[in-house]
């Protein structure tokens, strides 16, 4: 097969491994990485660049946190909590975008084009579809396993009352870092796939698009029910159905519809689809309700 930019490809080939090695060495040294080296996308080695950028983002933030952790005088007031943690990660993503724009190895501000897939063209979309689907399934299973362990309990405890978790001796910082690292890992993997699917990677529009990550991602989770396993899945499915139909039939109004959905969701339907189902049929989800206390028991 013919790669037009073979030389460039080779160049990329050699450096990314070094960068990746360096990155992983750094992370392993800090003992904050529990996942394996493989991205699972070894077929497309150049896609790893995108994965590296993502993982560097993770390690950048981790580095920042470790620096803070060493600073004892601030007594936790400078630790990021709750919604500030989320905003903090968003800030880091924006910073990473700018940093990525200056690294010439990956094309600087102009981006780099990806090599063609060594398969007949008619199989291209099927290939990527299966790849993304497989990745989604793997991510779902991993998260599912993760939340059946102590980690899941700790994450929920931190969500419910972080001060209490700290006071009980739970190392909240470590749990937050690991959670963030695992999320970043899957993002990195998928980013690699996505980059190759689109055909080129460029920091502003492809790698860190604001609308997708800043708005759509959040909207999908909220719609499906945050804090649940299937919530984001259901939310993503319904969101995309709505998105495709409005783009096709209501062109011109699609952003209005999207905005309305967000507003309705946040104001009236905060619990999302899964939350609503869990409240209506708690037993199906293993939630135990004290029957003697509900009004449905009839006349006393």
């Amino acid at each position: 097969m013919d790669h037009g930019a073979d030389g460039v490809h080779m160049g990329h080939h050699r450096r990314p491994d070094g960068v990746q090695l360096a990155g992983e060495y750094y992370l392993l040294r800090r003992r904050h990485v529990y996942f394996s080296r493989g991205t699972g996308v070894d077929v497309l080695r150049s896609g790893r660049i995108y994965g590296i950028v993502r993982r560097h983002q993770a390690s950048l933030y981790r580095g920042a946190i470790l620096h803070r952790a060493g600073d004892r005088h601030h007594c936790g007031r400078h630790r990021l909590r709750g919604p500030y943690f989320a905003i903090g990660t968003l800030g880091v993503a924006v910073a990473a975008r700018e940093v990525a724009g200056t690294i010439d190895t990956i094309g600087g501000g102009a981006g780099i084009s990806m090599p063609f897939l060594p398969l007949p063209i008619e199989y291209r979309s099927a290939f990527f579809y299966i790849l993304c689907f497989a990745l989604a399934v793997v991510a779902h299973l991993v998260i599912r396993w993760l939340f059946s362990t102590q980690f899941g309990l700790a994450a929920n405890a931190i969500r419910d009352d972080e001060d209490k978790a700290e006071a009980m001796g739970i190392p909240t910082l470590r749990y937050k870092q690991v959670g963030w690292a695992i999320a970043a890992f899957f993002m990195g993997c998928l980013g690699a796939v996505f980059g190759n699917m689109v055909g080129y990677i460029e920091p502003l529009e492809v790698a860190f698009p604001v609308a997708t990550f800043g708005i759509f991602m959040v909207a999908m989770s909220l719609l499906g029910g945050k804090g649940t396993l299937w919530g984001p899945v259901l939310g993503a499915i319904s969101f995309h159905i709505v998105k495709e139909t409005t783009w096709t039939y209501l062109l011109g109004l699609q952003w209005v519809v999207l905005g309305l959905i967000l507003i309705v969701n946040i104001v009236y339907f905060q619990q999302g689809i899964m939350g609503w189902l869990q409240a209506k049929y708690p037993e199906r989800f293993g939630i135990v309700v004290d029957k003697s206390m509900t009004a449905e028991k009839g006349d006393a």
Binding site: M293, T294, A295, E296, K297, A300
Partner: protein, 366 residues
């Protein structure tokens, strides 16, 4: 307070404790504490004997201090109307021998609740006209029903205290009267008017009901005067609120002395006084008091009950309170209701409930 009887009862108490020191489900025999210090010294001694690392208490020190202290104590005790109940000041005294598991209390209480009082009996407890009536109320939060067919009668100018285990629904009664809960069925009638459906602000402004919250409900950054003015927020004109605040200052000089201080620097008792008097700005007829003595240090508990007593007897307010310090609450109130799992188990006059041995065992801690 002679030393000899202390020793004897100490020995008896020690023997009883040894028997009763079995798994939690055992019921210990209730012993009425005749001399305050006797019971305390006995249980304290027992606790000390058990704890390995602690030395035995030298009682000599206390005896030496007693002589000069006695005079001071007598001088400090103000003349109270309820001289007979003087031994239940503050949190009172008494032992902690009666240990029952939560489930056991619930079971026994349920069996008592089976003979629940009828509405007629509730009526009998009121003097004069019935002022506030609750009929067969079913209410709760969200979909949870906490009160099941709850009824209440209280006459004008009377005080009623709700006691019972945690989660029984005592605060829910107050919340329901004021409009903070979901009312599934039943009605609340004040002076002939049905007020069930009114919103809380309407209840305060029109129906003359004021709710005094549990603990820490002053606005700490605002001054005492501003807090009182906030109490009159629903008045038509600020001038009316100011006039009402002045009346409160006339009545309670302690607040007047601190009118410009931020409420956060007041002592616990003064804060509770502020909370109560802030409710008075709207000149309500009914006061709903949620745990007046919670979190208060012993010397202010009596003060708060004196204030409430004054409001009831002199100003003729009708008071319905929830009080976890059950002995104090029942000593104060004319009527007492014992709530268990959302229903009234026993209703009687406050004094009668204090003397009731079952009530004492199950709800008063012996």
């Amino acid at each position: 307070m002679a030393k000899a009887p202390v020793k004897k009862t100490a020995k008896q108490a020690a023997a009883k404790k040894a028997e009763a020191k079995k798994p939690v489900a055992k019921k210990a025999v209730v012993k009425k504490a005749s001399a305050k210090n006797a019971a305390k010294a006995a249980t304290v001694k027992k606790a000390l004997a058990k704890t390995a690392a602690v030395k035995k208490a030298p009682v000599k020190k206390a005896a030496v201090k007693k002589a000069p202290v006695k005079k001071a104590a007598v001088k400090k005790r103000p003349a109270k109307g309820k001289a007979a109940k003087a031994n239940v000041s503050g949190y009172g005294s008494g032992g902690v021998d009666v240990v029952m598991s939560v489930d056991q209390v619930a079971r026994e209480a349920a069996s008592i609740a089976a003979k629940a009082p009828s509405v007629k009996e509730l009526e009998k407890l009121t003097t004069g006209e019935t002022y506030l009536t609750i009929n067969d109320l079913r209410a709760g939060y969200g979909k949870m029903e906490i009160l099941h067919n709850f009824s209440l009668r209280v006459g004008r100018g009377q005080s009623l205290c709700l006691i019972g285990p945690n989660g029984a629904g005592k605060s829910t009664v107050l919340h329901s009267i004021f409009g903070f809960t979901n009312i599934f069925s039943g009605s609340i009638v004040i002076d002939g008017k049905d007020v069930t459906a009114l919103t809380p602000s309407q209840k305060l402004a029109e129906a003359g009901i004021a709710y005094i919250l549990q603990d820490k409900s002053v606005f700490p950054q605002m001054t005492v005067e501003e807090n009182l003015l906030m109490g009159g927020f629903l008045k038509d004109r600020p001038a009316e609120a100011k006039a009402a605040a002045e009346m409160v200052f006339d009545k309670y000089s302690r607040l007047a002395d601190r009118r410009d201080k931020p409420a956060g620097v007041l002592s616990g008792g003064e804060r509770r006084l502020l909370e109560i008097s802030r409710a008075l700005v709207m000149q309500p007829q009914v006061l709903l008091v949620d745990e007046p003595s919670i979190g208060l240090e012993p010397r202010f508990i009596d003060m708060v009950f004196e204030i409430l007593d004054d409001l009831q007897k002199k100003d003729g307010k009708t008071i319905i309170m929830v009080e976890q310090n059950a002995k104090k609450g029942l000593a104060f109130a004319d009527i007492g209701y014992v709530l268990v799992s959302g229903e009234t188990a026993i209703a009687d006059s406050g004094d009668a409930l204090l003397k009731n041995p079952d009530v004492g065992r199950l709800f008063l801690g012996g």
